[in-house]
Symmetry: C2
Subunit: 498 residues, 2 copies
Amino acid sequence: MTTSDHSGEISMTTADTTPEELDRVLAAATAAARPFGELRPARRAELLRRVADELDAAGDELVPLAQAESHLPEPRLRGELVRTTFQLRLFSEVLEEGSYLGAVLDSPREDWPTGARPDLRRMLLPLGPVVVFAASNFPFAFSVAGGDTASALAAGCPVVLKTHPGHPELSRRTGEIVADALRAGGAPEGTFALINGDEAGRGAVQDPRIRAGGFTGSLRGGRALFDLACARQDPIPFYAEMGSVNPSFATPRAAEQAADVAAGYLGSFTLGAGQFCVKPGLLFVPEDRAGEFEKALVDAVTAREPAPMLNDRIETGFWQVLDRLTEHPAVQVLARGERTASGPSPTLLRTTAARLREHRDELVEECFGPASILVSYTDEQDLLAAVELFRGELTATVHGEADEPLTARLCTELAERAGRVVCNAWPTGVSVTHAMQHGGPYPATTAGTTTSVGTAAIERFLRPVCYQNAPAEVLPEALRDDNPLGIPRRVDGQLVLP
Amino acid sequence: MTTSDHSGEISMTTADTTPEELDRVLAAATAAARPFGELRPARRAELLRRVADELDAAGDELVPLAQAESHLPEPRLRGELVRTTFQLRLFSEVLEEGSYLGAVLDSPREDWPTGARPDLRRMLLPLGPVVVFAASNFPFAFSVAGGDTASALAAGCPVVLKTHPGHPELSRRTGEIVADALRAGGAPEGTFALINGDEAGRGAVQDPRIRAGGFTGSLRGGRALFDLACARQDPIPFYAEMGSVNPSFATPRAAEQAADVAAGYLGSFTLGAGQFCVKPGLLFVPEDRAGEFEKALVDAVTAREPAPMLNDRIETGFWQVLDRLTEHPAVQVLARGERTASGPSPTLLRTTAARLREHRDELVEECFGPASILVSYTDEQDLLAAVELFRGELTATVHGEADEPLTARLCTELAERAGRVVCNAWPTGVSVTHAMQHGGPYPATTAGTTTSVGTAAIERFLRPVCYQNAPAEVLPEALRDDNPLGIPRRVDGQLVLP
């Protein structure tokens, strides 16, 4: 949390934020909202680059902190820091390009069919202060300076960051660097602050000064906060990304390459000790190839070294879900993971599509950790019936030949149920790009019309305003006749590039 | 509601929809969702034009029905029908232009900083069946074939239309024409249906087959349905437009033209018997000009003829709110409207900015009908303090000179609180264009990040999907290399026009 000492500097701690401290943080964020939102996009782009530069420069300090608190290996954390600062810089490009402002100009038209059309100009403005809940499994990329923070700051919204208790020191130090970089770059005081503790987080979601929320974490946690946001006297958008089962499917022809598909699958579900919200939790294979998959997988799974999980709470939760699955009568254990001092070794389970349908509610559940279920199907009909089990997934994966009709059929079905459809690859390793979609229908997220990764994530923190008949003196630069920002705009219905 | 007789034709009635009938309607909408959503955009454009043509052709039948049920005058209803069919045709253009698909293509890049970038292609797909709640005050433009229906059909979503009980026969007949036109144009059976009665409406919002909701009406009704949508096991977006107070402000220099400003104000707040959600409910004028405004307004208000309201329920609600306002000790009655057999005559009230601040909760309330409050302010500080009373408005209006600093200051303040800022004009008469924004922070709507009028309304009914590494056989046309739809796309970060 953030307090001002008498020098006026902001200091951050790992202690729980008191209600009085929260009130000061929110007051500062509110005061910062207009001046920060009114900065020219190119100025905010500079600020984001400065934050990125400072974080990169602090890598040798931050990565060991992250290692100590997350048990993740150094190369992974170095790569994640690169991803985090790249993300900030990519949003700088988005700001400079300017399409994100959604500028639309309609000139007056006497002959408009609905009556004389006035001068109308529409653009997107920042929503105001946003609370962001950090996740534990990406201590950089989905935490203090992660995607939600980057996209909200890019949009022009001050960020109140609820830290994750899984990496308190890293959070504190990252928060200081972000706040210092913003301050040094001339951002208004209050543009960024940390808060600690569940009570402060809930308080922020319910406070009228907060205008939107972002969250990455569990279904239970995300839903509880979403419910608070909706129950406010003035409901606010709450963008919770809550993970999913991420089913994957091998068509009969893809399954002819059982060894290759199995190797990719194993690599994907055990990556990072299975602690990714896009981990493939199920692989459907044809019954007549199931033996080959088992053969290719069982020894390989058993041979995998255990890997430490992020923290005890996550490991406890993992074993709870896994124990329920392994003890379920419809499930066969192909390779039983061990609880070792250095973490769990991977587990592979087996069932059939028919049993999965019969026991959907017990078996189709996110198991956050190194475990997955191999599911055999008898024929195409059996497989397509199983697809109906899934309604809201971050990803769905199809291994199939391009000219095999089942491949396209599966992709069509799955596009209705998932935010990203992956073909002949694996869902882990979410790239940060313009076309990325990280979201999906509930329960993958509370807002399947949005994404939390990729440049479109900025759209979550903007709202449209139309200026009617406004003199030039009143108009934001994005809407002035001479287009001083040099951005793409829609003018009288036509998209015009600068 | 919709039933199939044995010829397979659909017939519509005005009777309340039973749960069994609702189930059939929702099953048909669900079956229609994929084939309707998969139609090429240009095919759906044809369907919308066909609906528009059939409605235009039926004008001589529909307008008298609307007159009888809404008490609105014929010219207004003729104009509203033009607006309704224009809106359908404007969405046809949106479909043909194709930007609404949000197509983004990122090609593979080995050197991508976050690791090799795969082939990623993102576009927007229809959400699935949508329930739309019709409003009473626009029996064409916000009812059966209104903006929510047009934008949802354009997006590719089947529409289950909950009729408004204020115009049952018009609804039934309009519904028949829409369904017949869609069927004749080759749309899948189930693409459009009517349901009647609050219970069926609530049932639809809570049914898992419904993927989003649209609503125009009262705060109480909209909030209750929004709460149902959020409380579902799988929450869905619920876009409720619930009206607002629409404050208007005259700066000291604008107030020098008191007679002109007063005339425009009177015309706007009495238009259509004040039954517009953008009716200006308050006009702020400088204290030292208040006498001139009173002089210009009182006789003119008193001289206005009464006009019938839409129905008894709306008139009863109007008098309830108005009686509370007129009896409030902080309010002075300048011109008292009469209850006559032909409806209420207009009412003008008066208070001060200071009293309005003191009694915000009692005085700042939508009064749906021909009444408004003249509010005097002492100085700029008093005026700006009053602006803080408003948090969520569809519109806010500023009368001021372009070179008067207060004009820009007010517009900046109001852009944070309203969806549309109107300068030196009046908010009634919402044009249907690309730049229009009809929405605003809560309580104007439940989704201030969206609009229910203008071409951007289509965005409410779409969700993004990313295809990773998908072969051409799998990709929707919008994302294929050769751009067969000829639409604007973002390719490797650059906007490319066809």
